[in-house]
Symmetry: C2
Subunit: 254 residues, 2 copies
DNA sequence: CACTGTTTGCTAACGGTGTTCACTTAAGCG
DNA sequence: CGCTTAAGTGAACACCGTTAGCAAACAGTG
């Protein structure tokens, strides 16, 4: 008995047989309900038994489609990374290609908007790995994460080649940081492979700020003292824009 | 039948009766084991039955000491905030009082060190509230959180009064941000109540950066691409120091 | 058509969880 | 010493993930 993968491969011909189609549909239903339960009850509220109950079947039956609850969570997490990557890429594509500044602001705002409108999803994606076991195969999520980042990396690359901001010389990069920056740039697959370490340092510093402010907002660590976090995000965006030589514009109506 | 509080109050005389002492000891044991299980198995691995088993009693017996698993988690979370506040305050106190720069660096490094050496604790404290129900009484944690912040606020106040860095004029503060900054400063209880909004804006920007970099490290969102996050933290610390007019010094041995 | 092998879903079961209730035991107090 | 009250137990209920064995439906072939 072979363990079923979470996503099944199409057969040789490229077309799916009837059996494969209904199988795919059932799997999609499982993931749809799991996602809904995640949003409604949080990550601890996702259970195979409850999913099966809602589908009108029993929990052991789900094991024909999913190897277990952990793998299911990993799988929908990968879906969510792909969705986020799509949303950010779409926001980027909505702005005229020549308007680098507008594209950067739009992409980052799309990231925040998605985060605060999908708090449960964001928490499992960017929060601590409380339930996703470390041995799980997260390659699909990693790939989508890479795609998510690539939108920003491409835009950042434009800024560097347009010399929008003074790139710190390599001497200004702390020695201990250099190999880490190099490793980061390589793994992440920069558009221009000869990007300087100083530039990558600036990029990560910007990312840390935005990640930090979005995390604070989604995790609600200032919710009892601050009603609306958007001004903080916009302020951070403005700071980042200044450092990067990007023309800041307040969020358009639309 | 009155629900037992998680921490019992000492009686009028100030001394604890024998009964109250053993009660306190049992409660302490419960929390000690819960904490250990949290570290060992993560937040999902904390269970009343397992705690009771280790204590040689049964789960319902614990309900004499704790109203339920949620309240227990909230309670040890408050303990952890108090511990963190102590650690940071101790690091601050270890540096000569006149050396504001050194105290700032020491306090922030103590925060990061505690975070990475207490990842499970940090995750429940600063990560998404996945298991702490929103209706719980978190006043003790909030109070400790306030104390945790006050170390930094006091030091920041020194910087402001010493005019170490150019405080942005009020016109430079986005209108939308002003009431939020005001609310933040009031709730948090600044040492000097007439601190300007521009100064608070700078402070929160710094905090967001450090919070972000520590979260990334603890939540391991770059672990597959970066081995050691310390250089990133130190780099961010250096950036912050520059913006705040603080003399940066690399982490001393000791 | 009948036959065969596979896929699908079920029931039953094991061990784990939080929580409530009724009950017994034991400790402390007057 | 007797009485009050607190501490702890066992049984029960409703959940959870997971495995094993079995029956029915299905797809394809002789």
């Amino acid at each position: 008995m072979t363990k079923p993968p979470v996503t099944s491969e199409p057969r040789a011909g490229g077309t799916l047989s009837r059996r494969e189609r209904v199988r795919e549909a059932t799997l999609a239903e499982i993931k749809e309900i799991a996602r809904r339960h995640l949003v409604e009850f949080g990550v601890v509220g996702v259970s195979l038994r409850a999913i099966a109950r809602e589908m009108g079947m029993t929990a052991p039956g789900l094991y024909r489609y999913v190897p277990g609850i952990d793998a299911l969570l990993v799988s929908i997490t990968a879906d969510m990374y792909e969705e986020l990557a799509d949303v950010v890429a779409a926001a980027d594509a909505d702005v005229p290609a020549a308007d680098t500044d507008g594209r950067i602001l739009a992409s980052l705002r799309a990231f925040r908007t998605w985060a605060i409108t999908h708090q449960a999803e964001f928490s499992v994606m960017f929060g601590p790995r409380t339930r996703l076991d470390p041995e799980a195969d997260i390659s699909r999520a990693l790939e989508a994460g890479r795609r998510f980042g690539s939108t920003f990396f491409t835009l950042f690359d434009h800024l560097v080649s347009e010399e929008r901001f003074p790139v710190p010389p390599d001497e200004a990069v702390p020695d201990a940081l250099r190999p880490e920056l190099r490793s980061f740039a390589d793994t992440v697959g920069f558009t221009s492979p000869d990007i300087s370490e100083g530039a990558v340092m600036v990029l990560t510093a910007c990312w840390v700020r935005l990640y930090g402010v979005v995390c604070m907002e989604v995790f609600q660590h200032l919710s009892f003292v601050v009603r609306d976090m958007e001004p903080f995000f916009e302020s951070e965006l403005q700071n980042m824009a200044k450092d990067l030589g990007v023309r800041y514009a307040p969020p358009g109506r639309q």
